[in-house]
C-alpha cells in the first residue's frame, strides 16, 4: 500500500532522513517508532505530498507522491503532529468544514467516525481550542476520517495525551483497521509498538529494523535479567559499576540487565550485589520486551553514528 524507496531529504545542513526503504502492506497497522528528531515528521510530510524528497521515491496505493499528488490528497487522511484544527471554530463547525473540503458531509460517513465522534458529540458546540488534549485528538482523528480515506497517516497522535486516552486511541485504530483502512502511525512511546502489526524503528533519519513486535522481541540475543532490591537507587549505581554488566536500564519496578558474558549463571551477580550491601535481592531471567530490543538497537545505532563521525 505504501512503498518507500531510497528516500532522502536534507534541510540546509541536517540530513532529516537518509535513503529510507519501507513497505506497508494493505490494511496493515504499521508503527513508526523513534525519538524526537528521528525524521518521522519529515517522512510523513513527504508521504502526504507536502514536501518533496531530494532523492528516491515513494508511492501510496500505486500513486507517486510527486507526480500524482492531487490524487493522493483525495485518498489519504492526515493528522499532523501539532493540533491543527481551527481553535476558534466549534467541534461541529470544524468537522463539517473538513467534510465539505473533501466534498462529503458528516451524515454520509457518520458510521465510520461514529465510535469516536460519539465521545465528543456532547461538546459539539464547544470551541475546539477549549477541549482537553484527549478530546482534541479525537476530534482531529474524526476530521482526518470524515472523507473515508484509504490510508490514514497519523503523526504522533498520542503525544501529550494521558495514558487512558492513549489506550482508547489505540483501540479505535484497531477498529478502523478492521474497516479496511491502512494505517501508518508514528510515536515516540515504545510501549505502543506492541500494539502494531509491524513496526519500524527509526533513529537519526535511518530505519534500524522492521519486523513484527514478536519478531523484534525474539531477535534479542543475549540473556536478560530482571533485578530488584530494597534500595533501587543504590542498586542501579552498583549495577552500572559492575564490570560484567553490558547494559543497565530501569524498567518499572525492576532493573533490566544484560551481561557481557554468555553464561546465564546469576550467582556472581548476586554475590556482587550482596557484597555491596544490597538487601532483598531478586534476580530472574526474563524474555526481552520490545522496549529492551529498542534500547539495544538504539544504543547500537548511536555507536555506529559515533564511529561514522
Amino acid at each position: 500500500m505504501i512503498k518507500i524507496h531510497n528516500l532522502s531529504k536534507k534541510y540546509a545542513e541536517v540530513e532529516a532522513i537518509k535513503s529510507i526503504n519501507l513497505q506497508v502492506k494493505p490494511n496493515e497497522l504499521f508503527g513508526l517508532i523513534g525519538p524526537d528528531g528521528a525524521g518521522k515528521t519529515t517522512l510523513f510530510r513527504i508521504l502526504t505530498t507536502l514536501l518533496i524528497a531530494d532523492s528516491g521515491n515513494a508511492a501510496l496505493d500505486g500513486l507517486d507522491v510527486v507526480a500524482d499528488y492531487k490524487k493522493i490528497r483525495e485518498l489519504i487522511g492526515y493528522m499532523p503532529g501539532r493540533f491543527s484544527l481551527y481553535q476558534d471554530l466549534s467541534v461541529e463547525e470544524n468537522l463539517s468544514f473538513f467534510a465539505t473540503v473533501f466534498g462529503t458531509t458528516i451524515e454520509e460517513n457518520y458510521d465510520l467516525i461514529a465510535d469516536i465522534y460519539k465521545q465528543i458529540e456532547p461538546f459539539k458546540k464547544r470551541l475546539a481550542g477549549k477541549l482537553s488534549g484527549g478530546m482534541k485528538q479525537k476530534l482531529a482523528l474524526s476530521c482526518a476520517l470524515i472523507h473515508k480515506p484509504k490510508i490514514l497517516l497519523l503523526d504522533e497522535p498520542t503525544t501529550g495525551v494521558d495514558a487512558v486516552s492513549r489506550m482508547e486511541f489505540w483501540q479505535m485504530l484497531k477498529k478502523l483497521q478492521q474497516k479496511g483502512i491502512t494505517i501508518l502511525v508514528s510515536t515516540p512511546y515504545m510501549d505502543e509498538a506492541s500494539l502494531c502489526d509491524r513496526v519500524a524503528l527509526i533513529q537519526n533519519g535511518q530505519i534500524l529494523t522492521v519486523d513484527t513486535p514478536n519478531g523484534i522481541s525474539k531477535s534479542f540475543s543475549k540473556p536478560l535479567f530482571a533485578v530488584n532490591a530494597s534500595n533501587k537507587y543504590q542498586l542501579i549505581n552498583d549495577l552500572r559499576n559492575y564490570d560484567l554488566a553490558a547494559t543497565v536500564y530501569p524498567f518499572g519496578e525492576f532493573v533490566h540487565v544484560t551481561l557481557k558474558i554468555k553464561n546465564p549463571d546469576t550467582e556472581p551477580l548476586k554475590s556482587y550485589l550482596i557484597s555491596k550491601g544490597n538487601k532483598e535481592i531478586q534476580v530472574g531471567a526474563i524474555e526481552a520486551t520490545i522496549e529492551d530490543c529498542f534500547m539495544e538497537l538504539m544504543k547500537n545505532g548511536e555507536r555506529r553514528m559515533n564511529i561514522e563521525c
Binding site: R45, L50, S84, L89, V101, C143
Partner: protein, 368 residues
C-alpha cells in the same frame, strides 16, 4: 462551489470571533475618518498654472514674469478664452488660473486701478490657500515697486475664486486619502495576516494536504474581506456625506466601481505579502512598514506629490493609493466622468493583474 462557500463561512467565523479583527475592521475606519478632520500642513513649489491674458500688454507681461520667476509657479499653458478654464481644471494638471481683464495695463496706468481674477483648484484646500497667498503677495510687491517708482497710488484688485471647494473644507482632501488607507489596511493587512495565520497554526498543512485547490483557498480567504471592505466604503461615504457634508459630484456607480477595483488591488497585494512571509509578524511588518507608511506619506494624501524630491516623486508612481486618491478626488469633488480617469484606472488594473500573477506563481502547493 459548496467547498468555497463553506470556506467563506469559516472565514467569517474567524473574523467575528476575534475581537482584534473586529476592532480593525469596524472601529478604525470610523475613528480615522473622524480624527483626520484636522488639516495637515504642506508647502509648495512649482505649482502648475494657466494664464488667461485678455490684455497682453507690458504690465501683464511684467506680472506674469514675476509670478513665474518666483519659483512657486510654473506655466502649464496660456488660455485664449473663459470657456477653457473649466476644461483645464478638470484635466487635473493645473492648480490655478490667473485672468487679466481686457485693457489691464491701460487701466492700471490711467485709472490707477486694474482687475484680475485668481482661480484655484480647492479640492486640496491647503494648497489652494497657500497659492492664493503667494500670488497676492507677489502682486502686492509689484504694485508697491510701481508706486515707489512713479510715486502714484496705483492698485490692482484681485478677485479670488476657489473652484470645486468654495469653502476650502479640508474634509475634501482627507476623505479620499483616509479611504485609500483604510481599504489598504483592511484588505491588504488583514488578508496577509489571515493567510499567514493558517501557516503559523499548522492548519495550512491540512488544507494543503486536502484536495482544495490553491485558488479555492485564496478566494475563500479574500471574499469575506472584499465584502467587509465594500461595507466600509459605504460607511466612510455616509459619514463623509452626513457629518462633513462632502459632495459626490460624479457618478456614484463609477465611484463604487473604482473602489471595488482598488479593493481588488489591495487584496492582491495582501495575497502577495502572505506568499512572501512565513509568520503573522512578518506579514504585519511588511504590510505596515512596506505598504502602510509609504501609502500615507507618498500617495499625495499628506504631502503633495509635486513637492517631493524627484526620486520620491517617481517612487510615488508605484504607490497604488496615489492613483486611487486621484480618482476619488476627480469623481467626488470635480464630478469627472470615466473619460478623465481612465489612465489611472488602467494603471490600477495593471497593478492588480501583476500582483495576482506573481501571487499565483509564488503560492506553494506544498510546505517549504
Amino acid at each position: 462551489m459548496k467547498r468555497f462557500l463553506s470556506f467563506v463561512k469559516k472565514e467569517f467565523h474567524h473574523i467575528f470571533r476575534d475581537v482584534r479583527s473586529l476592532i480593525i475592521i469596524f472601529g478604525i475606519p470610523v475613528a480615522e475618518i473622524l480624527i483626520f478632520g484636522f488639516a495637515i500642513n504642506t508647502d509648495l513649489k512649482d505649482a502648475r498654472i494657466a494664464i488667461l491674458d485678455k490684455s497682453k500688454d507690458v504690465t501683464t507681461q511684467q506680472i506674469t514674469n514675476k509670478l513665474l520667476s518666483s519659483g512657486y509657479f510654473k506655466i502649464d499653458q496660456y488660455l485664449d478664452n473663459d470657456q477653457q478654464i473649466d476644461g483645464v481644471f478638470k484635466k487635473g494638471t493645473i492648480r490655478g488660473v490667473i485672468v487679466f481683464e481686457p485693457g489691464f495695463g491701460q487701466k492700471f496706468e490711467k485709472e490707477g486701478s486694474a482687475h484680475m481674477q485668481l482661480i484655484f483648484d480647492a479640492s486640496e484646500p491647503n494648497t489652494a490657500n497657500m497659492l492664493n497667498g503667494y500670488t497676492q503677495g507677489i502682486i502686492n510687491n509689484f504694485v508697491m515697486m510701481e508706486n515707489q517708482a512713479s510715486s502714484k497710488n496705483l492698485t490692482i484688485v484681485p478677485t479670488v475664486r476657489m473652484f470645486y471647494n468654495p469653502n476650502l473644507k479640508s474634509v475634501f482632501m482627507f476623505v479620499p486619502g483616509t479611504m485609500a488607507i483604510i481599504l489598504i489596511l483592511i484588505s491588504a493587512l488583514m488578508t496577509s495576516i489571515t493567510i499567514t495565520r493558517e501557516k503559523e497554526l499548522g492548519t495550512m498543512e491540512i488544507l494543503l494536504g486536502s484536495p482544495l485547490k490553491p485558488i479555492q483557498i485564496i478566494l475563500g480567504k479574500v471574499t469575506p474581506y472584499l465584502i467587509l471592505s465594500l461595507g466600509n466604503v459605504a460607511t466612510i461615504l455616509t459619514l463623509a456625506y452626513f457629518v462633513f457634508g462632502l459632495p459626490v459630484e460624479g457618478s456614484l456607480i463609477l465611484l463604487v466601481a473604482e473602489c471595488t477595483l482598488f479593493i481588488f488591488l489591495s487584496l492582491s497585494l495582501g495575497i502577495l505579502i502572505s506568499t512572501l512571509s512565513k509568520t503573522m509578524q512578518q506579514a504585519m511588518l511588511i504590510s505596515m512598514v512596506g505598504l502602510m507608511m509609504p501609502s500615507m506619506l507618498l500617495s499625495g494624501f499628506i504631502f503633495p506629490v509635486e513637492n517631493m524630491p524627484k526620486v520620491l516623486y517617481y517612487f510615488s508612481f508605484i504607490m497604488p493609493p496615489r492613483w486611487f486618491i486621484e480618482i476619488l478626488k476627480s469623481i467626488m469633488i470635480k464630478g469627472s466622468g470615466f473619460a478623465l480617469i481612465w489612465k489611472e484606472t488602467v494603471i490600477m488594473v495593471g497593478m492588480t493583474v501583476l500582483f495576482i500573477t506573481i501571487s499565483i506563481k509564488k503560492f506553494k502547493i506544498r510546505l517549504e
